[in-house]
Symmetry: D2
């Protein structure tokens, strides 16, 4: 449900009669001091007392999540991904949309997904917004950790930057830009083998990963352990470390030489 | 204090007698199953049962933080920054080192700063690590939000990428690389005017910003409000939005033309 | 043909008898002062007098190209691309390999494609190399300009950075890294519609684009002209320019305010 | 001198009487079909027959450079840099502005610095422009090669991307953005030790580096040579190469395992 706020830019853009024509569930009678947007992915709230950025959000601004400080006992949920996309919750296969809906309820009950931030609107000014996205925040935490397990290092590093660019584009209203399509081709390829299960503990506003498993993991017990059975050839380290640091070493010698000249 | 674990790579590198010579507070008698590194900025723990990445960390692995689920009442702390650096805590000017020490105690008592992740060691293998960094996580949350208020958008976006590169360099052991020095010259300039106060609420493992104020803010109530007193010239939006989307519009028209040819 | 130079790292790596077994056309009798690698894509030459980086390359180091200063009259060649790949030369459809071979002869005769540079070997040291790549340099010039015509701006900008990363990976010997595959998925999508003809003038060591045409061009005469028939709505510029510069304007006002405080 | 073209956007922006008031050397009587902008750094020309992007530029569009095909004998010039900035030409110390003026004449006489390209105007449309920048192109070639000699690899790679971002900002009219200032702080630090001489051969439209020398070079004859006197420890390579490729190797093994499962 969208709370209608006279003066909201978006609302002004609606053609007269549009809401009635489509039977949209918009509450046009309430006189909220806030401008609120919401859908299944999240809810944002701005204006009112929030415009004083030193003032903490009042309890009334929250609509998708319960108080994180309520002392609710922890719950655990396991999310399964195939090629980067969520496909099951606690072992039950579900469409992504339903996983989001279920996680909104489940994680929202623990106060997960609240954000309070000043951001840069496309038109060049800063604005303070309150967000609630219990499912999104839970999914992001789980997905990021599964990537830690399944993505090769250089790919993970570049993907972080490419993902930031994707986010900027979408925030800036350029969903239909050719760059988005090309970035998504990158993402689709990169997400192959991001397949496995992640267990998340929900409590006190936090979604914390406590376990991950994947048949496509790049984590290898034999290589990682310091224990008996270590198969990592420690003797290779000397040559690697020497050459890895060689450019910095040569530069430092140059700096000293130039400084003393 | 570092818990000495026979077989730890770092420990192997210590010359015989080094610990005794310098009187380092290293506990060489305990027989921990973990490899632990710690200093004022944080504490890491690996090996033992943590090598099974599906298993949640046992309570015994934590050393810098209390249980986030203990139900402790929230506390608030205000951190002040000048040109990007922390300079005071709750209005009391302190050196950065002392701020870190105080925040470790304060935020650690609320279980803030626990991380559990699989990461990429420089030598090319993945490893699961537990981190505790109560002060670091609290400072990062506060600092990021102050940047949201004080940094211009394009600068903030580039700085995010430059910061990621800095982190990669340092993690990869290249502290003495010339690139680090140049990135820090960027950071120093970018951090001018990142000056102000941030109020953080500590509770249940979370450090949540609830207020920010700055004489150097780019946030402007008059521009941001939708209320009476709005000084943002809404009439400018039409031209901006039309030209902002023009490249995507031309590309979409081209795609349709080519597809139908 | 590869000129065999005793001591060349690559040659050392060849198993004994490998050259004879496969009948590779390697000239093992010459005693060249240079270490030379060559294939259809290019030829590199190092060591000998080239190790003195202040000394110009002697004429004898060049093997794929004629003297650019020979005063040969200009020739023109038209290269056609489909989805970013070269598919025809002067209107004759040809496989990419044959286009490269033909361009090596054609552009090499004009001295196109010579490079003389100090570069960073993977192992951390600098080395001076002479390259000849007549076809590669001609194709890159033509392809870049066709991209200027067919790629949307934001896509072109990001592709430049992604292309740089691809180049680093390949130079660093990481052809089989997962990141290369994901970057190429990006490139494949981005290259859709990079289709058209580019006319290149070859003379005096230069490959200069003099014309480009494409049914998938984003260039639009009606929008670009200042002439009668201009369909670009100049009135939109005011709003765009005002908001485009707004973040810088707000930051400048802030800087003045803080400075004078 | 700027050739005044009625209808030029920039000219429209000049207040009435501005040209006369300041005595600007603008030729308002010529009726050129082109829109021309020029200053000491370069000259651009657009519109007229150039709007047909398949047509080669007519000879009349060029104003800063002679025909590269004129067959003029090669000339050499040595440019000296201190901390990245040009400080002398052929051993004569000169202010940067005078070096630019001298190089415009010297390199322009050899047809160096001509560009013909389709580019993306800020307002979202593509435009074909002819540029002439003899000094700029010569300085960039010399400076880039001196960086190859004096910049550490990781720094050089990041600087390339940072430089691209700087260029985008400036092209997009954001000279006064805070990001430009921070990027320049990076550049200033990175340019320390980019000090030395570069010899450039000018001929037939090309500015080709033929020699470089620097007391701050990172190039080291002893490390680079394959000859007697090689001080590079070849035995380090094995460990380096094994660990450098380890992430790709683990990923390839994973891919095969998952594929065959």
């Amino acid at each position: 449900m969208v709370t209608y706020v006279p003066g909201d830019t978006f609302d002004q853009a609606l053609p007269t009669g549009f809401v009635e024509l489509w039977g949209l569930p918009i509450n046009v009678t309430s006189r909220s001091p806030y401008s609120i947007d919401q859908n299944v992915w999240g809810r944002s709230c701005e204006t009112g007392h929030l415009e004083d950025i030193w003032e903490a959000p009042h309890d009334e601004v929250w609509g998708y999540s319960d108080d994180p400080a309520a002392g609710k006992p922890a719950e655990e949920v396991t999310i399964s991904f195939t090629d980067g996309l969520p496909v099951a919750i606690d072992g039950r296969p579900r469409p992504a949309l339903q996983i989001i809906a279920e996680l909104n309820a489940l994680a929202g009950a623990h106060g997960v997904g609240r954000l309070d931030m000043v951001e840069d609107r496309l038109v060049g000014i800063k604005s303070r917004e309150i967000y609630e996205a219990p499912a999104a925040i839970t999914l992001l935490a789980a997905h990021e950790e599964l990537e830690n397990v399944c993505l090769e290092r250089d790919l993970a590093r570049f993907k972080r930057m490419a993902g930031q660019r994707w986010t900027e584009l979408v925030y800036d209203g350029l969903w239909f830009s050719p760059l988005r399509e090309s970035l998504e081709a990158f993402m689709t390829q990169a997400s192959k083998h991001v397949t496995g299960d992640v267990r998340v503990r929900l409590q006190g506003g936090q979604a914390v990963v406590t376990g991950r498993r994947s048949a496509a993991a790049l984590y290898d017990f034999g290589l990682a352990t310091y224990d008996t059975g270590d198969v990592f050839d420690q003797s290779l380290s000397k040559g690697f470390v020497e050459l890895w640091g060689l450019p910095s070493k040569i530069a430092a010698a140059r700096d000293r030489k130039v400084m003393s000249a």
